[in-house]
């Protein structure tokens, strides 16, 4: 679907992307995971044609570079910053963006209401965005990317600064889109989100791709083994084992055990082992 080949982008002397190569398959949810400044946003801006690479190629299968009008028609972007008009109402925002895509009046009205329902903003359709909470704006920012029913959607930190309720709604929507066969490129620095919605994850740091694969593959390759913590009163015992079931069955028969914790190595552990740093410092 989307192919980035050896993409380099410099801002002045700073190299934001140092030769990135990756491909996104049709219909998959592709995660870009990395700390602040890793180059996630730069990758997305490059992929959708807002930035031209200094070298390397960006290509949409069957369409060519992202600057062509055909690509634009099937491409939806929810930028990291809230790219919506504060002084327009929720419905006006959506209908305006629909108009840019040549949708008819009735089509954009219908679509705007359908999409507001999906992000649970239908009750605020006639309210100015300026009166919205941060989470509501985030959801509208996402809705605006979906107005023209794109086939590939770039979501740049769609859950930044939202409460658990909004986060849940957004993640549910992403899952629904995935079910509809929409290709999704999702950036985040929350590993649990990447784990929840992404089929494959690219771990990035300082403009470089560190690892790429399904969540399980990444953990298997870089996450290490399972960690079982057994507590007897104040005494903690950590057991690192490839066979956690044995440790558990033994511990449950021991009456002195007050608490048991099984920890599966996660993407955090993957990132830690790849960079020696934690994802969020």
């Amino acid at each position: 679907m989307l192919e980035l080949t050896d993409v380099v982008k410099r801002f002045g002397s700073r190299e934001a992307l140092a030769g990135l190569t990756l491909s996104v398959e049709p219909g998959e949810a592709f995660g870009l995971l990395g700390p602040n400044g890793a180059g996630k946003t730069t990758t997305i801006r490059m992929a959708c044609g807002l930035l031209a690479p200094d070298s390397g190629r960006v290509e949409f299968e069957g369409f060519g570079p992202p600057t062509s009008a055909e690509v634009r028609r099937v491409l939806g972007v929810a930028p990291q910053s809230l790219a919506i008009y504060d002084e327009l109402t929720c419905a006006e925002n959506l209908e305006f963006f629909g108009r840019l895509f040549g949708m008819s009046r009735s089509a954009r009205r219908e679509r705007a209401y359908a999409i507001m329902e999906r992000v649970q903003l239908e009750g605020r359709a006639r309210d100015k965005v300026a009166t919205f909470s941060g989470g509501m704006k985030r959801r509208l920012n996402l809705a605006a990317a979906l107005m023209h029913e794109p086939r590939i959607v770039f979501l740049d930190e769609p859950t930044a600064g939202v409460d658990p309720h909004s986060r849940h709604a957004i993640l549910e929507l992403v899952r629904e889109l995935q079910g509809e066969g929409v290709t999704i490129v999702y950036t985040t620095h929350y590993m649990e989100e990447a784990q929840r919605v992404c089929d494959r994850v690219a771990v990035m740091d300082q403009g470089c791709l560190l690892a790429l694969g399904t969540v399980d593959e990444l953990i298997a390759a870089h996450g290490g083994e399972t960690v079982v913590t057994v507590e007897r009163g104040t005494v903690h015992e950590r057991v690192v084992t490839a066979e956690p079931m044995g440790v558990l069955s033994e511990a449950t028969r021991d009456t002195s055990v007050t608490s048991l914790r099984v920890e599966r190595p996660d993407l955090e552990a993957v990132f830690l082992s790849l960079t020696g740093r934690s994802l969020r410092d």
Partner: protein, 437 residues
């Protein structure tokens, strides 16, 4: 055109809802146009009350009396005399608003003084501008007073008095139906009058104008008859017919300033918030995005100018010399300032400081261009310097169509300059536009 129009309508909506932008684009210009128009419409128009008023004098008699009268009028505190060779010239000057009134001292005026005692008053024709009632009122008062004094001085000259009385006696002798006793009686009265007047001459020779007037009043007859003729001011002349014809074009200048700073800032804001990315990401050319911005600015500017002129024409007595030329001037002004907006958007995009600086520069340009001080009140060198300000060309174009009675040829210069600013500005804007954050 569909996409640019959508962007234009969206931007106009945003502008309307943005209180600051709305204030500087609509409210402030209305204040300038209406409030300042009302202030200037007060007593400040024309010559101030403390200054001497100019009275046109057409001396057709060229006699000693009329010469004396003219210099006596000139000598008064209130009046300064301006001589005209003919009645037509003086009337033209009144029509053009150069002088509030003129008097015509008809041929044979001096000779007519002899008839004063037989009840025929000296007739003076006065041509006055009816729109300057207060000034002409004062002029008439001073004129009457001065003429009276001059008249008295003149007829008080012994030779003239004796001639007058001689004439009276002659008419007495020749009038039929008067019996000899009455004739003798009147003759005796005239003789004693001669004696009386001889005595009075000695006293009044040293008298001032005021005393002359009071002495005149004692005669209890009115020897001066001022006939006022109204000369309607030509409103289509090279003079504004009301102060609003000056302030409404100025208001239009301020409205353009508000409009271009608002739209320039909106491009910067869209770039910062990321909505510009959404516009660029739509399947439309970048030129369509720019065209949308330009169209929005143009239509908003046009709407505000129309609002200002409709209010001016409907309620404030603005009477454009030519509606087609006014339409041309408005369209060219809006087009020119689309260019200014584009340049502003490019400069403002470079840094935060640049935005404030360009706004400040624009305000100075607006003041310099005649949106602050009317161009007519500027010293010559400043008026030349103001040519560098696009606002000047807006004011020149609008004033040309409203009250300067400019021909199509004269309108071409400001209109061409404005269109050139528009073209160059759009060219700079579209080539230098910064699309990325």
């Amino acid at each position: 055109m569909r996409v640019p129009l959508a962007i234009a309508i969206k931007d106009a909506t945003l502008m309307r809802r943005d209180m600051t932008a709305f204030f500087f684009t609509v409210i402030f210009p209305l204040i300038v146009g209406i409030l300042f128009g009302m202030i200037f419409a007060g007593p400040a128009t024309g010559s101030g009350p403390a200054e001497a008023m100019t009275l046109g004098v057409v001396d057709l008699d060229r006699s000693e009396f009329t010469a004396d009268l003219t210099s006596a009028l000139d000598a008064t505190e209130e009046i300064e005399v301006k001589a005209f060779a003919s009645e037509a010239e003086a009337e033209d000057a009144v029509r053009r608003g150069e002088i509030p009134a003129a008097v015509v001292l008809a041929q044979g005026m001096e000779d007519s003084l002899d008839d004063v005692f037989t009840g025929a008053p000296v007739k003076v024709e006065c041509i006055a501008d009816p729109s300057r009632g207060a000034e002409t009122g004062i002029l008439q008062g001073v004129l009457t007073q001065t003429m009276f004094a001059q008249l008295f001085k003149s007829i008080a000259k012994p030779e003239r008095l004796h001639t007058s009385l001689e004439q009276a006696r002659e008419s007495l002798l020749t009038t039929e139906g008067v019996n000899p006793v009455q004739r003798a009686l009147f003759d005796q009265m005239i003789r004693s009058a001669e004696g009386l007047i001889d005595q009075q001459i000695d006293q009044t020779d040293a008298g001032t104008d005021d005393e002359g007037a009071s002495v005149g009043g004692a005669f209890e007859f009115n020897p001066v008859d001022i006939q006022v003729r109204k000369a309607q001011r030509e409103t289509s002349g090279a003079e504004p017919s009301s102060s609003f014809e000056i302030t409404i074009p100025q208001a239009a200048g301020w409205a353009l300033l508000g409009c271009v700073t608002g739209f320039g800032a909106s491009i910067v804001r869209e770039r910062q918030s990321g909505t510009l990315d959404r516009l660029v990401l739509a399947p439309v050319g970048r030129w369509q995005v720019l065209a949308g911005k330009a169209l929005g600015c143009f239509l908003t500017a046009l709407a505000v100018q129309l609002l200002l002129f409709v209010i001016g024409i409907a309620f404030l007595g603005v009477r454009p010399d030519s509606y087609p030329l006014l339409a041309l001037a408005i369209v060219c002004s809006c087009a020119g300032f689309v260019g200014v907006m584009m340049v502003l958007a490019v400069i403002s995009g470079t840094s935060d400081g640049a935005e404030g600086l360009t706004r400040g520069a624009l305000i100075v340009m607006a003041m310099l261009g005649g949106a602050g001080i009317p161009l007519a009140f500027m010293p010559g060198w400043l008026r030349v310097a103001s040519g560098a300000s696009p606002f000047k060309w807006v004011i020149v174009a609008l004033e040309g169509a409203v009250w300067r009675d400019a021909s199509l040829g004269e309108m071409l210069v400001p209109c061409a300059v404005l269109l050139a600013i528009g073209v160059v500005g759009v060219a700079i804007g579209s080539s230098r536009m910064k699309w990325e954050r």
